[in-house]
Amino acid sequence: MIATDLVQVLLSGIALGSVYTLLAMGLFLTYATSRALNFGQGDFLALAAFLGMAGMLAGMPLIAVVIGVAICMAALGMLIERFAVRRIISRSKAGAAHLGWILSTLGFGMMLQNVIALAWGKSRYYSPPLFSSGEKQLVSLFGAGVFLEELAIGAAALVLAGTMYVLLYRSDWGRRVAAVSFDRHTAMLLGIDVKRTVMWSYVVMALLTGAAGLLVGPLSSIQSHMGMLFLLKAFAAISIGGFTNPAGLLIGGIAFGVIESLSNYVDSTFGDLYPFIIVLLFLIVRPMGLFGERKTDVR
């Protein structure tokens, strides 16, 4: 591999990987507050990607597209928490297995997937670039020409992931999430509105996923049923980093993205396969992930 290619492949990997990180952070957050995950999160991503594409193609300015997608996603986050999660987790007895949310969130995602298929069909689309004049616009990085779009997308996703980190560790909201994650009853005794905290965690999950969807559009083709694969890759990122702290998710996400990018460079036919094999092998050596502990860091 020549050096110029290497820089480009690494950058592509980092850009994609940071998108996986945003998804993984969404999973992490809802698990922290509600001990449930949104299995429809991949479909949230697909919907955001399609809405973003539609907005850009309609000639809307980027900021309007971002705001529009954010509003839709926030509303969906509230809806899924209210109707597919809250009643199921509040009705389950402590300690009893309660996995109804797997089905309800998956079903919610299926509905979104079908809405996308109804509106746009099942074909593959290419989303217009968000930040550059064209997909192939090049800038120079370490002496190598790289795609501006990928550079900007990677940077945007990293800034978002960093913002999340600050929010979780430095804000009152982050401390509320930590308290709810530790124990709902203790949080209530501290005057924390647990229902509200959980609902907001779903809204933030949906916003992160929406951002991931917007950013992924120009990176790869989009399709109505693309969600599950992305969700799987977010789980792979979690498996590498360990489901314990947001920094691990960032490293896990980027690692998976870079491995995927390298693997696609080496073998474009089965490029998607090798990263999963590597993750499986990795899990045999380190089942808890890089930063895994027996006890979850509550944030």
Binding site: A179, D183, H185, L189, L190, G191, I192, V298, R299
Partner: protein, 235 residues
Amino acid sequence: MIEARGIHVSIGGSLVLGGVSVSVAPGSLVAVIGANGAGKTTLLRTLSCLLPLGSGEIHFNGKRIDAMAPHLVARSGLVHVPQGRQVIPHLSVEENLLIGAQQLRGLTRSARAESLEREYLRFPVLRDRRRVFAGALSGGEQQMLAISRGLMMQPKLLMLDEPSLGLAPKVAKNILAVLRDLANGGVAVLLVEQAALSALTVADFALVMQGGRIVLEGSGSDLLTDPGLVKSFLG
């Protein structure tokens, strides 16, 4: 301050509290003692509205609270320090102290800083360890943190569930002395303890629970010499 009348609570179809009444006035320390499974913890969880009431009434500060959400009850000044300390292990000592106070609307930043300073004076070890994760503290330090965290919420009534459990006798004694001081300062304190004798020595009034009912009540000093106390503990 708090007045609960005829509380009945069932959990999973079995009656855990059968007609318990309790009241605590400002400035007094009331102890609830009894053997394991007597219903003491359930009583506190019911008073802080974590558990739904089967029948009965709970009035706090002149307002009926038994249908209120627990976080609003806590914000109104009924503060419950639960069993097992329950400090949040991955937050620092100072973050633990601030988290409850931060939920109080209308509490200014400077008032919060003042409360923090007051708690650091009460338990100087917390100041020394304010940047440490709460999970790394010893049992005694965690109990101090749990009490201080509760006090940061400006309680009118402070309820504590077995604060001396698992602590060295000297530390336990120190904590009971702090509770006595708080009561002398005007806070209503409701203390649940299995260590009956030490609780009775600091309490103004005490209730003995057995099988979800109050079987004996009287002033702390009277109960210390009551032959019925031993009987109710040993059956």
